[in-house]
Symmetry: C2
Amino acid sequence: MYSIGELSKRTGVKIPTIRYYEEMGLIDAPERSEGNQRRYTKDGLSRLSFIRHSRDLGFSIEDIKDLLSLSQHPEKPCHDAHNIAVQHLADVQKRISKLKRLERELKRLSKCGAGNIANCAVIETLADHGLCETEH
Amino acid sequence: MYSIGELSKRTGVKIPTIRYYEEMGLIDAPERSEGNQRRYTKDGLSRLSFIRHSRDLGFSIEDIKDLLSLSQHPEKPCHDAHNIAVQHLADVQKRISKLKRLERELKRLSKCGAGNIANCAVIETLADHGLCETEH
DNA sequence: CTTGAACCTATAACTACTAGAGAGTTTATA
DNA sequence: TATAAACTCTCTAGTAGTTATAGGTTCAAG
């Protein structure tokens, strides 16, 4: 049996976040001690690790709910889990290419040689989208 | 003079968002019509464009406040604007490399050949961080 | 003058947490 | 066994940057 603090240390998930996950229905409400404190089993620990790990990989709470309920049914086909991962991969790739465009723009922008605001490329570029090299 | 709806169409910023920016002090409260509706000038339009453009580039509301007040003082040196942009560039580059690690992991993860959940690499990997190739 | 679109304020929801107050519980040590 | 330190409890509110909703008012065209 782990207290919430121990669970937190073992998984790296902060205490209020664990309680938040409980409220959101990601983890079951655990048993309580006589004094009403949460007491977790090994199962609770591994479920929270799963969540932690999924969050690290950027899955949303909703996605994780789906993944968790899938993982509860080992006999089912895994298209669904697969689809969630592939969809998420697509999202990540979209974000990467958007950020790369942004990086190019900011690099250009930060090469400002002017001495004062009046001729500063940063301000000028922000004021006028037409000066941009790429669309965003 | 533009109504809020016209301003919204011209800048691509949604109406509630414009009102939110006003509340946050990013834009000045504009004059009102006799019936208490907002009426914007060309200045209001270009200020909002500046904001829109800065948000597109991922600057925070606070950064934009600084950039706006800098742009109001053309005689000042532009180190500050420059610093904000450079700092932001560093953030963006950090985000990119984090996402790329994630992309690698997800690509590996989504190549799941199993037929059912029991052997599905997606679920398995999420359940056990030890199976990951990279740190995250 | 009427109608319908656009506008007003105020409030709540969203995501995924984090922080704080004030009270109760558990555990380690004297 | 007493007490103090550390931990946990619930509840509320705050974060960023919007978006949505409700119930009412105003504007512009026909």
